[in-house]
Amino acid sequence: MDRHPELLDLEAVRTGEGSAQDARHVQTCADCQAELAELTRLASAAAAMHDEALVVPAEVDARILWHARKRALAARRRPPSWPRRTALVAAAAILVAAGVTLRTVQKGAVPANVDTRAADRLASAPPPPSPERHAQPAQAMARAQRHEAMDDERAATDVNGDGSFDILDAFALARALPAPAPSGDINGDGTADRRDVDEVARRAVSLVQG
């Protein structure tokens, strides 16, 4: 007959973690069977002593689950990973470059395919009220006046609050993401995300077919 397993090896046989050789030995050795039976009795007795449970009141469950919901929300709002962030910055840089180009073009001759209606609206807007009538600085008044001239949709897209609506707003929104809705929720889908940046850019650089 092969040698008796050590005590720890027998304990491993009890839980099913033992070697096949030890398990076979136990099947044919009365001494080891008795030893294993004693270990099993000991384990059951110890487990039976500790079977008490703590009754958890519903309000404690609710408090912990409230915390769980908060963390789930935080996990969903996790900042973008590095590759995604890099792509976002690159996209913003392209938007800025496009904006600078467009401004340069607008300072000179306006190309036929650029929608100038926004500029026309600004030009035909009533002049700002005189500084004497209002206490605000003239610059702020002018900005407010320009906002009035813009339609509601465009006014909502003055993200950086400089009083004008242009491609720089798209850049500002891209930098601010993830922005809390509704301030950054330009397209009204309930969340502020990359699609809102696209929407601001689309409105800022509105090209007509031609």
Partner: protein
């Protein structure tokens, strides 16, 4: 079975990392009774055990997103509960040194289960570290590797503690 539960926990952790609310809730439901009973066993005080229960899950949830489960969730939770209970016991008796507090960590059967008085005496006579290993093995049904992880002790140390504890119990109860 323990391995299947471990796989399930891994999947739940992955889903919780993705922000799935139901996964958080499932993790809580799965381990609530274990954490509660463990805290109660250490503290013998229901209100304090409930506070430890809340603190433990708050600590766990705060690690999401980005939590990586390298072992079973029970072996992750065990030292969290134990250390919080130790802190509370220490606060109750600030003048007592840490070794004494560790030695007094309950792991002693409740009054309801005192049928086997001989076994109770034998368990109480063991050094705290050996008693802890016996309970983790017989009550929590953990593998030696899991006990090593839960108690933050080397595997060899755990084997040695279990071996000596079993010999001592056999000697006392034999």
């Amino acid at each position: 079975m323990a391995r299947a539960a471990e796989t399930d926990d891994q999947q739940l952790v992955a889903r919780a990392n993705a922000g799935e609310e139901a996964a958080f809730e499932e993790l809580y439901r799965r381990h609530r009774d274990y954490v509660g009973a463990l805290a109660f066993r250490f503290l013998r005080d229901r209100e304090e055990a409930l506070e430890v229960l809340q603190e433990t899950f708050a600590y766990l949830f705060e690690r999401f997103p980005g939590f990586e489960l390298t072992s079973s969730l029970r072996t992750f939770l065990y030292p969290v509960v134990k250390h919080r209970c130790l802190d509370r016991i220490r606060r109750r008796r600030p003048s007592v040194d840490i070794a004494t507090v560790e030695e007094s960590l309950a792991i002693v059967p409740s009054a309801a289960g005192r049928a086997d008085a001989e076994l109770v005496r034998a368990l109480e006579a063991l050094p705290a570290v050996q008693r802890e290993v016996i309970v983790l093995r017989f009550v929590e049904d953990l593998s030696l590797e899991q006990i090593a992880s839960a108690t933050e002790a080397p595997l060899g140390t755990v084997k040695s503690r279990l071996h000596h504890a079993l010999l001592e119990l056999r000697r006392r109860l034999g």
